[in-house]
C-alpha cells in the first residue's frame, strides 16, 4: 500500500475525532477507482464502501450528539458572562467615581475631595505635581529682574523687613497668638511683607504692600476674601474698610497709611481687630 493510503487508513480507523465526511470518502473512492488496475488498493476501496454503508444516525443519536455539543458550548460561554458582569460593575464604579470627582472639583466640595483626590492621584487620573506650564519661545525679550529679594522666615529672631520688625516691636499681636511663617519681597516697584499668626484654631495674616515706584505705575490687586458690601469705619483714628465675610470665614480689613496698603485677614473678633490696627498705626506714625 502507498504511504497516502496508510495515512488515510490511520485516520479512518485510529483517529475517531477526525472522521471523514461521506463526500470526502466518495472522493477518495473515485480517486482510487480512477487509478490503473494494478495500482488500485482493493482493501482501501472495500473499507471505504463499508464506511459508506454505515446507517445515518437515529434521531436519538442525533439528540444525544447535539446535547453533547450544546453542553460543551455552554461550558465555554459560562466564563465570559461572569467576566462581563465584573467588567460592567467595574466600569460603573469608575464612572460614578469620575462624575463625583469632577463635580467635587467644580464646586470645591472639600469634604469629598479629601477622599477622592488621593485615589485619583494614586491611579494617575490627576497629577499631584502642579507644574508650571512650559513656555513657548517669543521674539520679545524677557529677563528676570535682578534687583529683587525674597525671604521666607519662620522665626522672629531674624526679621527681613522693617514692617516685620514693626509688627513685633509695636506689640500689636494679641495675647496667645504665635508666629508661624512669613514672606518678604522687595523689587523695583513693590515691597510686600506678610506674617501668619495662630492660636489654637484661630489665625490671622497681616500683610503690608508698599508701591515703591514714584512714576505712577499701573497697580491692580484683587482681594479675594471680600464677599460682602464693605463698611468704612474708624478705629483709633484710622479709617479702615471692613469686610465681614458672609461664609463665617473671618474678617478682612484693609486700610491705607501713606503709600502703604495694609490687609488683615483672619478669625479675629472686633476687640482683637481694634487692638492690632490701633497699636500698629500708632507705632508707624
Amino acid at each position: 500500500m502507498s504511504n497516502d493510503s496508510n495515512k488515510i487508513l490511520d485516520r479512518l480507523f485510529n483517529h475517531h475525532d477526525t472522521e471523514l465526511m461521506p463526500n470526502e470518502l466518495r472522493q477518495l473512492l473515485d480517486a482510487e477507482l480512477a487509478k490503473p488496475e494494478d495500482e488500485m488498493d482493493t482493501q482501501l476501496i472495500s473499507d471505504i464502501i463499508d464506511l459508506l454503508d454505515i446507517e445515518p444516525p437515529t434521531p436519538a443519536e442525533k439528540k444525544a450528539d447535539w446535547s453533547a455539543i450544546e453542553k460543551k458550548y455552554r461550558r465555554k460561554r459560562r466564563l465570559p458572562r461572569v467576566l462581563r458582569s465584573i467588567a460592567i460593575t467595574a466600569a460603573s464604579i469608575v464612572a460614578v467615581f469620575l462624575i463625583s470627582l469632577t463635580s467635587a472639583k467644580a464646586f470645591n466640595w472639600t469634604f469629598l475631595l479629601k477622599f477622592l483626590l488621593p485615589v485619583a492621584q494614586t491611579f494617575g487620573i490627576i497629577s499631584s505635581d502642579y507644574t508650571v506650564d512650559d513656555g513657548q519661545e517669543t521674539e520679545y525679550r524677557f529677563e528676570d529682574a535682578m534687583d529683587t529679594q525674597e525671604v521666607d522666615f519662620t522665626s522672629l529672631d531674624e526679621l527681613p523687613s522693617q514692617f516685620a520688625a514693626a509688627v513685633v516691636e509695636s506689640d500689636c499681636v494679641p495675647d496667645g497668638y504665635g508666629f508661624v511663617q512669613g514672606n518678604w519681597y522687595k523689587s523695583f516697584n513693590l515691597e510686600k511683607c506678610n506674617m501668619l499668626f495662630e492660636k489654637a484654631d484661630q489665625w490671622f495674616v497681616i500683610e503690608m504692600m508698599e508701591f515703591t515706584d514714584d512714576t505712577d505705575p499701573t497697580t491692580d490687586f484683587e482681594f479675594e476674601r471680600q464677599v460682602d458690601v464693605p463698611l468704612t469705619i474708624e478705629i483709633n483714628g484710622v479709617e479702615v474698610t471692613l469686610y465681614y465675610n458672609s461664609d463665617d470665614s473671618g474678617i478682612s480689613v484693609s486700610w491705607l497709611q501713606g503709600n502703604t496698603h495694609f490687609n488683615l485677614l483672619g478669625t479675629l473678633d472686633e476687640e482683637e481687630l481694634t487692638y492690632i490696627i490701633g497699636t500698629l498705626h500708632s507705632y508707624l506714625q
Binding site: 464612572a95 464646586f107 506650564d133 520679545y140 513693590l190 501668619l196 495674616v205 458672609s246
Partner: protein, 141 residues
C-alpha cells in the same frame, strides 16, 4: 445587575445636580476664595521701551504651591484691539509658602501700550484653584 447599575448611575447624577444649588453662597456677586487672599500685578515703565512687571499673590494660610502658572503680554494695536505678542510664557511658583512674588523686565517698544494676562495658581491640601487675571494697561516710555 443591569437594574442595579442603572439605579446607581441615576442616583449619582441626581446627587451631583441637587447639591450644586446648595453650594452657591448668597453674595453680591463675588465669591470668597479659600485659597487666595490677594493676587495682582504692578507694572512700571522704566524707559527704553522696557516695562518692569511684578507679579504677587498671597494665599489663605500656607499653600503647598503658589504663584503664576503662565502669563502673556498683549499690545494694543492701531484699531484699539489687544493682540497677543508673546505667546504663553511660563511663570513662577514656590512651595510651602504664604506668599510669592517675582519680577520680569519686558523689552517692548516705547510709545506702545501693553497689558499682561496671567493665571495665578494656589495648591492647598491636594486641591487647587486658579485665577485668571488681566492687568491694567501701561504705556512703555
Amino acid at each position: 445587575m443591569k437594574k442595579f447599575i442603572a439605579v446607581l448611575l441615576a442616583l449619582s447624577v441626581l446627587f451631583c445636580s441637587t447639591v450644586a444649588f446648595a453650594a452657591l453662597p448668597e453674595t453680591d456677586g463675588t465669591q470668597a476664595s479659600n485659597y487666595f487672599q490677594s493676587y495682582g500685578m504692578t507694572i512700571s515703565a522704566i524707559g527704553s521701551g522696557r516695562l518692569y512687571l511684578t507679579f504677587s499673590c498671597t494665599a489663605v494660610g500656607v499653600a503647598s504651591q503658589l504663584g503664576v502658572a503662565n502669563y502673556m503680554v498683549q499690545k494694543k494695536n492701531s484699531a484699539g484691539q489687544w493682540v497677543d505678542i508673546s505667546g504663553q510664557l511660563s511663570g513662577s511658583t514656590k512651595y510651602n509658602t504664604t506668599s510669592h512674588s517675582f519680577s520680569k523686565t519686558f523689552y517692548g517698544v516705547a510709545g506702545e501700550t501693553y497689558r499682561v494676562k496671567c493665571t495665578f495658581l494656589c495648591v492647598k491640601n491636594n486641591s487647587s484653584e486658579t485665577k485668571s487675571y488681566t492687568s491694567g494697561k501701561k504705556k512703555a516710555t
